[in-house]
């Protein structure tokens, strides 16, 4: 039965291994390995660690390892790329499973943790979604306690076994034997390495208890006569055995402390990640496997919301997919400064003109764009930089109208009136830039001029099957509008408002059951007025056409999601939208509308955008879920953009560039007098501001609370900083004091000379001896050994003088100095008269133990 620490360690490591396998499985897009590992982990915890019913012995372990290697070799035979990598991953998992079913010891736990880390490393080499990041956080949360528990277990067992040790001085001739070579075992390891490579680390060779540290490579002990056996026994110290039930320290505080490491670890990672230099991808012939390729490339995304053909009722549940489709960044074309856009942005993809039996298609004469740009519009051009994610379509989305730029990789198809890219560029992120005059005062205008003559006939085409009830309703609404028949704008706006604002029509992303006897749009208008944007736009288009107003359907994206992080509008699958454009020839263009749009040339008429789709009514749950979806989408976007997509250029733009600019700007500001004046003013006003703020009960407000928290935190960190400074000052001061003591000690040169003199003869002052004690003992010994009784008092005389200088803080008188000098001279003379070897022998000191003092 294992104790609590071992049980916790087993559970922790098992969870760690399961998590790393899950990360690996996510990278390989497979669930078999994680599922298998989950089963193995559960079974091993129960059968091996807790109950001990199943424990692989040495033979079974080695056999299972060899089988795993053989299976991996079979997998690898003749394969490469993805299959090769998958085989290696499977091998890692097999080895872990074999280890899991062994009786655990420190080595097993460490091996499992290393394998787990290898799995995470391999998983990190392939493109991963945000789930990788979240699971990596969980992995760290489990891994930190696992490492700490392994450490505690190691310390506990190691010091129990090696708590005491004998240390043998070099002079005694003994040597430490740290490593005891077991040649047989070494041979087994070498053979296994030849056969299974690095996997030999995980095989079992028959453990032998080494003597380890503390053993003396002893010379053969003399036998002796047995009269005093203690002479041949070394000292022995025994470390205490742990008391049964002794607490191991795995208290709440232990877990809380480790838990506190988690945010700190994440913070460390967040600091390190952006600053690690991205130097580009080096191909240096490393092991190349298919899925080890660039992880900046994303998988193609299938478009769900956008289509160049609209089939009513086929869409069913409109996608709520929050996958990003495109993002648009607006900047002034001339100044290159960010252009702020408010409201929604309509990105056109395709126009559809012909409706038949619930299906929209394009059928027209096409439309050529005018080359160049009107010089009068140059100053108001706004650049739209659009990045389209990998899609299964070639259409590009942008704000219309636009000015084509030469040399870009997109092209305009005048037959379909669409902006396209090459098919081969679908599977990669595509960025292009266009200029548009459609943004006025930060708003996308509803009315834009036509570039050229417009064929009106297709825009007035009626459906093949008449829809009398829809036409009647259109006629009724036209009359209700009270507008003259020539006032197309007023009629169109009225119809738009009727569809959008009346309570009869409602938006629903759910597919509705339609009357098969009727055209879907007629059924929508008459019987079941619930539908998505396609129904509303179709209804309006057909109603307008029935009243002789040319109109067409536009398919694209409508987004108001602005990312403050990167200053871009983001279009997602869920933003796919359909709206209506009414063609107004010059005769039907009202002047006030033209004035609002402020375009100079209306000679070919204009297009008025109408959006009859009502806003979606959200239930509180839907609103909550929507909010969460937004957050999740934001996280996914941040992950893709800042984690997966971080490269050299982005790092320069987002990290190094701003830091450098900010630093330089602050440096420049600090150098100016105005900055200091401003700072002084702020400091001077601070007390008054605080007094005003906290007067009259302003304490009890969220601002007051926030201010109090900030003040407290500031005070706390200030206090901690002061404490740290005080500690640092103490340390520095102690060093200075020590240095001063040392320097003072150096000044007592005669005592150093005295100690050096005696040290050469093997007499050294022990740390437990005072100089006076040492002098007395040394004098006695020298007198006894040399036979000169007069030597006995000389060391004491020198020591007394040393005390006077060192502790009495008084210098020696000239006569005293002379006396000390004479005493040292006599000592030297006497010692010189006795050869060193003889003297050392008399003092019972080994010559090799005498070193020249430094």
């Amino acid at each position: 039965m294992t104790d609590r620490l071992e049980r916790l360690l087993s559970i922790n490591v098992a969870v760690l291994v399961a998590l790393s396998t899950l990360l690996l499985g996510m990278g390989q897009r497979q669930v078999v390995l994680p599922a298998l590992m989950l089963v193995a982990v559960t079974a091993s915890l129960w059968l091996t660690d807790l109950t001990g019913w199943l424990r692989l012995n040495r033979t079974a372990t080695n056999g299972a390892m060899l089988l795993a290697v053989a299976a991996c070799a079979w997998d690898l035979l003749g394969r490469e790329g993805v299959s090769e990598a998958a085989a290696i991953s499977r091998l890692l998992v097999w080895v872990e499973i074999v280890l899991l079913f062994q009786q655990k010891d420190l080595r097993t736990w460490v091996q499992l943790m290393i394998l787990s880390l290898v799995q995470v490393t391999v998983a990190a080499l392939v493109p991963q979604k945000i789930w990788f990041g979240l699971l990596a956080v969980v992995y760290v949360a489990v891994g930190l306690p696992a490492v700490s528990l392994v450490f505690l277990q190691f310390e506990r067992t190691y010091y129990q076994r090696h708590g005491s040790a004998r240390l043998v001085s070099a002079a005694s001739g003994g040597r430490f034997r740290r490593f005891q070579v077991n040649w047989r075992r070494l041979g087994k390891i070498a053979l296994a390495t030849l056969v299974v490579g690095p996997l030999s680390l995980f095989l079992r060779y028959g453990e032998s208890e080494g003597t380890g540290e503390g053993e003396i490579d002893g010379a053969v002990k003399p036998a002796g006569t047995g009269r005093w056996p203690l002479l041949f026994h070394d000292a022995v110290l025994l470390v205490p055995e742990p008391r049964p039930g002794e607490p191991e320290g795995l208290t709440w505080e232990f877990w809380v402390r480790l838990l506190k490491f988690l945010p700190a670890t994440l913070l460390t990672a967040a600091v390190i990640f952006p600053f690690v230099p991205r130097l580009g991808r080096f191909e240096i012939g490393l092991y190349r496997v298919g899925w080890f390729e660039s992880n900046t490339r994303s998988d193609p995304v299938r478009t769900a919301g956008f289509s160049d053909e609209v089939v009513l009722g086929e869409l069913g549940l409109l996608s709520n997919d929050m996958k990003k489709v495109a993002e648009v960044e607006f900047t002034h074309t001339e100044s290159k400064q960010p252009y702020e856009v408010s409201g929604e942005v309509y990105l056109r993809g395709a126009v559809l003109t012909e409706y038949a039996d619930g299906q929209w298609k394009y059928r027209g004469q096409g439309h050529r764009l005018r080359r160049g740009v009107d010089p009068r519009l140059r100053s108001r051009l706004v650049q739209q930089k659009i990045t389209v994610e990998p899609l299964d379509r070639s259409e590009l989305f942008c704000v219309w109208p636009f000015v084509l730029r030469r040399g870009d990789r997109y092209f305009y198809n005048p037959k379909t009136e669409r902006l396209l890219r090459a098919d081969r560029q679908r599977n990669q992120r595509f960025t292009f830039t266009l200029d548009t005059p459609a943004l006025v005062d930060g708003v996308q205008v509803a009315l834009v001029p036509s570039d050229g003559p417009v064929a009106v006939r297709p825009l007035l085409a009626a459906p093949p099957h008449p829809m009398p009830r829809l036409e009647a309703l259109a006629r009724q609404w036209a009359q209700e509008s009270g507008a003259a028949p020539e006032d197309w704008v007023r009629v169109a706006r009225y119809m738009e408002s009727k569809l959008r604002d009346s309570e009869r029509f409602a938006y629903s992303s759910m597919g509705a059951v339609r009357d098969e006897q009727l055209d879907p749009i007629e059924d929508f208008v008459i019987n079941n007025p619930t539908g998505n944007c396609e129904y509303f736009a179709t209804a309006l288009t057909l109603m307008l056409r029935s009243q002789g107003i040319p109109a067409r359907l536009v398919v694209g994206f409508k987004t108001d999601e602005f990312s403050n992080l990167r200053n871009v509008f983001v279009a997602r699958q869920a933003h796919a939208h359909t709206w209506v454009e009414v063609y107004l020839d010059p005769e039907h263009l009202p002047d006030e509308l033209k004035a609002l749009s402020s375009f100079p040339d209306w000679s070919h008429g204009g297009w008025l955008r109408l959006d009859p789709t009502p806003a979606r009514d959200l239930t509180p749950v839907e609103a909550l879920l929507g909010g969460m979806e937004n957050w999740w989408a934001w996280l996914c976007e941040a992950w893709e953009q800042y984690v997966m997509g971080m490269n050299r250029q982005q790092q320069r733009e987002l990290v190094y560039g701003p830091l450098r600019r900010s630093f330089l700007a602050r440096l420049r500001r600090v150098g100016t007098l105005a900055w200091w004046k401003e700072l002084w003013e702020q400091v001077r006003r601070a007390p008054g501001w605080l007094a005003w703020y906290f007067a009259e009960g302003r304490w009890f407000s969220w601002r007051g609370g926030l201010a109090a928290v900030v003040l407290l935190l500031t005070g706390y960190f200030l206090w901690r900083g002061l404490c740290a400074l005080a500690r640092l000052a103490r340390i520095l001061w102690s060093r200075v004091a020590r240095h001063r003591d040392d320097s003072r000690r150096v000044q007592v040169a005669f005592y150093r000379r005295f100690e050096a003199l005696l040290a050469r003869r093997g007499l050294r002052r022990r740390t437990s001896q005072t100089p006076r004690e040492f002098a007395t003992a040394a004098g006695g010994q020298l007198a006894a050994v040399t036979g000169h009784a007069g030597l006995e008092g000389l060391p004491r005389q020198v020591a007394d003088a040393f005390y006077q200088v060192r502790f009495g803080d008084t210098a020696l008188e000239p006569l005293q100095e002379q006396a000390v000098d004479e005493a040292l001279g006599r000592l030297e003379e006497a010692l010189r008269a006795h050869p060193q070897r003889r003297l050392l022998a008399r003092l019972n000191v080994r010559p090799e133990a005498v070193r020249r003092p430094t």
Partner: protein, 403 residues
């Protein structure tokens, strides 16, 4: 903790970890693998945190050691180590207190012993005590410490060591043996004559010391019948007599210039025997004791029998070192004037030596050695196998168990 020196070093496990981290970082940079950079960032956390916590774990930790002043060679040495966590909040985990026992000078050989006491958990504001035991087999003076407090918590990547407190000295006294009855008889023969009875029944002649079995050959008049009836065997009451003569124990620690094993054993036996005799004399009390050691450092000690005297004598014997020079004559010169006429002189020597009047005179040229004193001079040669007749020693079980 009166911290003197602190040091922080990277443990081998920490180096391995850093190496793995560096390899991952290089791969991440070369392959521009952002996820690997993220993993490296996450793995860097434990390095920084481990460094910080290793430093904080040992702050305000007080360590105290309790060790006896002296203990006999081969006897159990018990050292208590107490660690107090003076912090108010942070507990300490995996604290190791390392102690060293190192001989001072040449005594005790060259072997130093290290003990590491592991404290798994020391909660804030609490004290934990552990005890380590040991057997020092060689007499001498040993220095304990300084204590080193060490921790590698929480991950074992960094090791923080603080040197705490000063050093202490423990004296390993000579191992005491047991004087056999033969020694009593021999001593009586030497100093009092064999005809003089030592144990008397008469109550007024001494204090009761104990009872022992009557041995065949002894006078039946010594039998104490009342005690014999109580013990159901023939016993003799031993009475301790107060004799007003002094004892001088002289130890001649001579050994050849290149001593063999037997010579070293002789030295240890001589020291042990001397210590046993001194202890016996002090136990009996009532007289004055002189101790002279003719070793590497000749030494004399004398005074009325008392516990401090015994302690001093034992400590001197613990550090006494043999010499290949003959210092016995000098010792006799020094100690001779201090000896009275009624002093029993026991000379314990490691060599075969004969003491006679001429030798004593030759030592100094003065005839201060009076004839009665010479008569009371008794020599014990530890190289003689007959020593076993009146002296024996018990050995600690653990020592034999090691073999």
């Amino acid at each position: 903790m009166s911290a003197q020196k602190c040091r922080l070093r990277v443990c081998p496990e920490g180096w391995y970890y850093l190496l793995a981290l560096a390899v991952l970082l290089v791969i991440a940079i070369l392959r521009e693998a952002n996820l690997l950079v993220l993993v490296v960032g996450l793995l860097s956390g434990p390095i920084l945190l481990g460094w910080g916590l290793a430093i904080r774990t040992l702050r305000m930790l007080e360590v105290e050691r309790r060790v006896p002043r002296s203990v006999g060679a081969g006897d159990l040495l018990v050292v208590r180590v107490r660690v107090t966590n003076r912090r108010r909040r942070l507990s300490s985990w995996a604290v190791i207190v390392e102690d060293r026992l190192q001989p001072e000078g040449a005594a005790g050989g060259n072997t130093a012993v290290r003990s590491r006491t592991f404290f798994g958990h020391i909660p804030s504001g609490e004290t934990r005590q552990r005890t380590y035991r040991g057997r020092m087999t060689q007499r001498g003076r040993y220095r304990l410490g300084p204590l080193e407090v060490q921790t590698r918590f929480p991950f074992g990547f960094f090791s923080r060591t603080v040197v705490a407190g000063g050093t202490e000295t423990v004296t390993i006294l000579p191992r005491l043996g047991r004087l056999r009855p033969g020694w009593t008889a021999r001593r009586s023969e030497a100093f009092e004559g064999s005809h003089r009875p030592q144990l008397r029944q008469t109550r007024g002649l001494g204090d009761f010391y104990g009872v022992r079995e009557w041995r065949p050959g002894e006078s039946r008049r010594w039998i104490h019948w009342r005690s014999s009836a109580r013990h159901d065997t023939l016993v003799v009451c031993q009475l301790e007599q107060h004799r007003e003569f002094d004892v001088a124990v002289l130890l001649d620690l001579w050994q050849p210039r290149r001593p063999g094993v037997a010579d070293r054993e002789n030295v240890e036996l001589a020291v042990s025997f001397t210590a046993t005799v001194v202890a016996e004399v002090c136990r009996q009390g009532g007289s004055s004791l002189s101790l002279g050691i003719a070793g590497a450092e000749p030494y004399c000690l004398s005074g009325p029998v008392s516990t401090p005297l015994l302690q001093e004598a034992m400590e001197r014997l613990a550090v006494a070192q043999p010499s290949w020079e003959d210092h016995l004559a000098k010792l006799l010169d020094r100690i001779g004037p201090q000896l009275g006429a009624n002093t029993d002189v026991i000379l314990v020597t490691t060599r075969r030596i004969r003491i006679d009047h001429e030798r004593l005179q030759a030592a100094d040229g003065q005839a201060w050695w009076k004839q009665p004193l010479v008569a009371r001079f008794r020599v014990v040669d530890t190289s003689d196998a007959r020593l076993a007749e009146y002296f024996e020693t018990d050995w600690p079980v653990a020592v034999w168990a090691e073999d």
